[in-house]
Structures are given as structure tokens and as C-alpha cells.
Amino acid sequence: MKKILALLLALAMVFALASCSVEKAPENTGSADPDASGDNQGTEQVEITWWAFPTFGNDTGYEEELIAAFNEVHPEIKINLTIIDFTSGQEQLTAAIEANTAPDLLFDAPGRIIEYGKAGKLVSLDDMFTDEMKADVSEAVQSACSDGTTFWMYPLSSAPFYMGINLEMFQAAGADQYLNLEGDRCWTTEDFENACKALADAGYVPGIVYCGGQGGDQGTRALVSNLYGAHIANDAMTEYTMNSAEGVEAMTLLQEMVNAGYLDVATDMVASQELEMFQTQNCAMTFCWGTSNAISYASEDFTQISVPFPSDDGVPELETLHNGFCVFDNGDDAKAAAAKLFAQFICDDAEWGPKSVVQTGAFPVRASFGNLYEGNEEMELLSSWTQYYADYYNTMDGFATMRVEWWNMLQRVLASGGDPQTELDTYVANSNAALNG
């Protein structure tokens, strides 16, 4: 009995060690050698990994369609897909980068990508920005793709971020009188305040200022900066500036509204949870609405209307979302080349390029794609909002720290009753320390 047990232990050991060494083999060699891939014919086989945030929508299967279409043209490139979420995706990326198991291709936005590029983790995409491409894509988008010297992101589409409202709730509370649905939907801070009051009085949760983490934090930044025209950073992008008089005024207003019960604050939620509250009709508006969230969090039970953020002069400044790809430097030229080829296929292919843009629900970065939403009034209205694009601060130094400081500042002011001026000063000081340090 004892011997059998011990023998079993030993056998299991041997089996374990054996399975270990074979399992490791493909990861190390990257199966770049044709031997490893069994029955494949002739051409050099490359296997790359692709990580994607769900920018093409949750569970749509579009990524798989793309891979299948790409493999018809390039059967020699095998693509392993992993979808990561906005809550824990960043930590997983950090862990993977530090462990040298970073994906070859990542579908993300400039904030993180430029940071990775500056840290030397990416492959330069300068060769993909051909003269033809540069002529087709606006200067603003190009500058969002680079840190000033090197292009790190290959752009697919861009769109503004704005708010979403539950029309039926607004109507039931009589708050729809404050909306400007006939015009271009721009509204003022006063309208917003009145609407929230009406909604709260009617027993609804008007909106939830989420600040439990950084997922979708651009929404709360846009809300605060629009209320009285404050700016996240100065024009030269050399300093964070939210502790201005306008910023303090905005935070003071939000604090008062929260204290009066006209807004909720949720220190245990990030945007995805707030969006789910909106989708399940637990709150009347969301601060993180956008073309792709409108797809992911659609509902048949009520009418979702997109509106810009309210501002004192009725002229909003909207945050921009750029979607694009970056290629990690995993020390293998064949993989980097394959990843670039695939990125190019997704963005530029005559058939799949426009399809991908539409799948993100955003607007193409390439002028030559033309109007992909012909006859869609809603999209044409949204497209007109691109004139309200604010300066793009996501590629500034210290961005990662600024985001952490941001939601903590919101928590201190809105949940713990901190003084807006003091807390904004702390937030700005810490962010600038990271920017300069």
C-alpha cells in the first residue's frame, strides 16, 4: 500500500516534469520554426497573440470573424485572441509586460499605448505611417498616435465621449423640458442642475458619479471640466491645471448636488458598473456614453439619447476616444511584422477597414473612407459634435498617476466631504510631480 502510494507519487512527479517541458516548448520558440506546427505546408508559420479591449462590443464574435477573414489571405499567420476587460486589463498588461509575455498586438487607446512606447516596450510604427496614410489622416489624430518623435499607435477610428440619458425617466419627471432635443442637444449647467432636481424629486437616481477606479474616468473628467469651462491641462500640455477657479466651482457644485441628493456618488463603481446601472434603469443618465458603449449597453426597455456634457455657455468641450493598435517588442521581427500586417488589414483593408470602423461605432480616421453612416441621422448629428473636440491630454507624461489621483480626489470631495480647493490642489500637485519627475 505504502509502496504503491509512493510509486504513484513518483510517477506523478515524472509525468509532471515531462508535461512541463513539452508545454513550455512552443512559448519559448514562438513556434516560428516550421517543425513545431505539424502538418502545415511549406510557408513559414508565425503565431502571434492579440489582446483586445472589448472596443468591438462585448461578445459580438467580430474579432473571430476578422481573424478568419485575415487567415484567408495569410494562412501562415496564426492569431491567438484574448479579450481583456477595462477593469483589470491594465494590471494584466503590466504583469505581462514585466513577465515578457506581452501580447504581440494590442487593441487599445493612446493613453496606455504612448506610455508603453515611451518606456521602450513597443515597436516603432513609423514605417506604417506612409505618405499616403499621412495625407489621409488628420494632424490631430496623427499627433495622438505619437509621443512627438515616434508613432506608437496605428489608428482605426475615433469618436467623442458624451452623456446618455433615459428619455422615459426624464419625461416622467418632467425633466425633458431642460433638454434641447430639437437642436444640437447642447445644454447648460443650469439645465443640468434643474433636470437632476426634477429627477430626484420624482424618486429617480439622476446620475451616479462613479469613482471607484480608473475605468471610464474620462467621463467624470469631462463632466467636471465642462460645467464651468475648466481645463485638465494648459494649452502647451506642460502642466495639469484643474485647481483653477472654474474647476473648484465645478467640484463645489457637484458636492452640493450630492449632499442635496440630486446626484449619487459611488466610490465602489467604475464606468462599466455605472453603465450597467443605466442599462438596468437604476439611474437616469450615464457620464460615460459613447458610440461603442451605446452598442454594449443597449436596451430595448427604454430610449437612450446621447447628449453632450452640460456647460455654462452651452458650448461643450468633448473628450475624444481614439481606437488603435500597437505592436509590442517581443524580440522577434517575424512576429512584429505579422502583427503589423494584421493591424493594417483591420484598419485599411478595402472591405474590413470600414467594417471595423462601423463595428467600433465610431468615425473613421481616414478621410478616404467617406461617410460610413449615410442616411443615419443620429450618427450624422454625433459626427457634427467632432467640432467640440477638446485638446487631447492623454499622451502627457504622468498620465497614469494623474488618473489615480483623479478618482481619489473625487472620492475625497464627494464622499468624504473634503474641501474642493484643497483636494484639487493636492490632485494637481501630485499629478504635476509625476509629470515632472
Partner: protein, 296 residues
């Protein structure tokens, strides 16, 4: 036990052969990373590279309000959880010890289940029950008219840490109960009988007869609960992400946050070193008490 130098040399060779597998894993995966961590803590290592900064990280740590708050929270968790777990498990242990065997094993099993299932499965359900809008507790409280609208248990600085400690309590009480039931089984029952014949009260029997023989178990329970409480991480990561306003941030969580969200590895490693020193101090103290308290 005296040995000749020749024999001892032979023993040394044999002993190291036997130790080899354990040392391989221990040196390779515990000592080496620990040394690497200490070295990194003297650098400003971040995603792009690193340079030597000597004690800067440590100086910065003691001026970092978030770190100090996280340290305070960690100590609060340990200081609250350890006595509560110890006293409660002792009480439950003695209460179920006097029951029939079947009832005893039923309760022992119930209290041990959260340990087995692991914190992740437990936390996802607690998080849902505490939810401001969808949670069971708020539904019941609002339905009963106690609250007007949902209360953010996990989102309020006054209640969040208490929620963390409550869940920590449910996942740590199982093992001590099992230990106490076993320890009470070792109490000399003839002495207990003799004492009650002599008219000793319940309390007297407990303190004079039972307590001395369960003392070693108590010390062991205190040590493991302390280590568990210091390690409280999954709970916080999944329940509150350290919020609101760092009210539930522990050193372990802040370390993770600094490294994986802000890419400051050197700074995070310095926190690790400080935490290790604090735990070492706590443990040394407890080991000392433990060795002094047992006569084994």
C-alpha cells in the same frame, strides 16, 4: 550527541543531498526574489528602466499619506480581527464541544466551509449582497422601512472597513474552531468532574482547568490569524479596490496598486520590505510568547 568530525562530514554530505530539493525551491523561488526585491527597493525602477536612488523610496514612503493610511488600516484589521476571531472561535469551539458528535461535526463543517471555498467565490457573493442598488441587504432594509434608499455599505468610509473585517472573519474562523474542539478533547475530564463535584463554577473550571491546556492552541491561533490578516488582499482587490478614499487600502493592496497601475516597481518593493519587517517584528514577538508559554 557528540559525533566524530569524520562522521559529521559524512552526515553533512548526506544531509545536503536530502535538503537539495527543498533548497532548490526555497532558494530559487523565495530567497532569490526576496533579495531581488530588496535590491530593487533602492532603485527607482519603473516600466522604462531604473537607476539607483539609495534610500529615497523609504524616505518618500514615510511622507506618503496613502502609505501611512494603508499601514494604519492593516494594523486595524490585525488588531480587530485577531482578538475577535480568537474569542469567537474559542466560544464556538467550547459550545459545540458539549454537543452530540453529529451536531458537533455539522457545525464544525459549516464554519469551515468558507475556508475551503476560497475567498474569491465568497467575495463575489458578498459584494452582490452589499450592493447599493441591487443588494439583498439594502433591499431588505429599504423594504422594512429602516432606510429610505440603498446605503453604500462598501462605498462609505465609515462602513467599508467593517465589511472587509466581517468577511475576513467568516473566512478565518473555521480553522481555529477545529483546533479548539480538538484541544478541548485533550483536557483531562477526570479533573473537570472532580472540580464540579467540589462545587466549582463553570467559569472557575474554565480558567483553572481548561485554559492552561488550551493555551498552546490559543497562541497558535493568534499567530496564524495574524499572518492571515496581514495577507488580506484578494478580499480587498475584489470587494472595494482599496476605496473609498483609501479607507480599505492595506499595505499589500497599495503595493499592488503602485506596481501594477502606476508602474513604480522600486517604490512598491520598498513597501514590501517595510511590510516584511513589520510582520517579522510581530511574528518574533509572538514566537517568543509562544515559546515562553509552552512547556513542551
Amino acid at each position: 550527541m557528540s559525533q566524530s568530525p569524520v562522521l559529521r562530514r559524512r552526515e553533512t554530505v548526506v544531509s545536503y543531498l536530502f535538503l537539495l530539493p527543498a533548497l532548490f525551491f526555497f532558494v530559487g523561488f523565495v530567497v532569490t526574489p526576496m533579495a531581488m526585491g530588496i535590491v530593487t527597493s533602492f532603485t527607482d525602477a519603473h516600466m522604462g528602466g531604473s537607476k539607483f536612488v539609495f534610500l529615497d523610496n523609504y524616505i518618500k514612503l514615510f511622507q506618503d499619506p496613502v502609505f501611512l493610511k494603508s499601514m494604519l488600516n492593516t494594523v486595524i484589521i490585525v488588531v480587530v480581527a485577531v482578538p475577535v476571531v480568537t474569542v469567537f472561535s474559542l466560544w464556538v469551539g467550547s459550545a459545540i464541544y458539549e454537543m452530540r458528535a453529529s451536531a458537533r461535526s455539522f457545525f464544525r463543517c459549516v464554519f469551515y466551509l468558507p475556508v475551503v471555498t476560497g475567498s474569491v467565490a465568497v467575495v463575489v457573493v458578498w459584494r452582490w449582497m452589499f450592493h447599493t442598488y441591487n443588494g439583498l441587504f439594502n433591499h431588505v432594509l429599504v423594504g422594512a422601512g429602516i432606510l429610505d434608499k440603498g446605503f453604500p455599505f462598501l462605498g462609505d468610509t465609515r462602513t467599508a472597513l467593517a465589511c472587509v473585517i466581517l468577511i475576513l472573519f467568516t473566512t478565518s474562523i473555521g480553522q481555529p474552531i477545529v483546533l479548539y474542539v480538538a484541544a478541548l478533547g485533550n483536557v483531562d475530564s477526570s479533573m473537570v468532574e472532580a472540580a464540579s463535584v467540589d462545587g466549582a463554577t463553570r467559569m472557575q473550571i474554565f480558567w483553572k482547568i481548561k485554559w492552561p491546556s488550551i493555551m498552546p492552541t490559543t497562541l497558535y491561533v493568534v499567530v496564524i490569524t495574524t499572518i492571515n490578516s496581514f495577507q488580506c488582499f484578494a478580499l480587498i482587490q475584489l470587494l472595494t479596490s482599496g476605496g473609498p478614499d483609501y479607507a480599505t487600502s492595506t499595505v499589500m493592496y497599495y503595493l499592488y496598486d503602485t506596481a501594477f497601475k502606476q508602474y513604480q516597481y522600486g517604490y512598491a518593493d520598498a513597501m514590501g520590505v517595510i511590510l516584511a519587517i513589520v510582520i517579522a517584528l510581530f511574528s518574533a514577538l509572538q514566537f517568543k510568547v509562544m515559546n515562553g508559554g509552552t512547556t513542551e
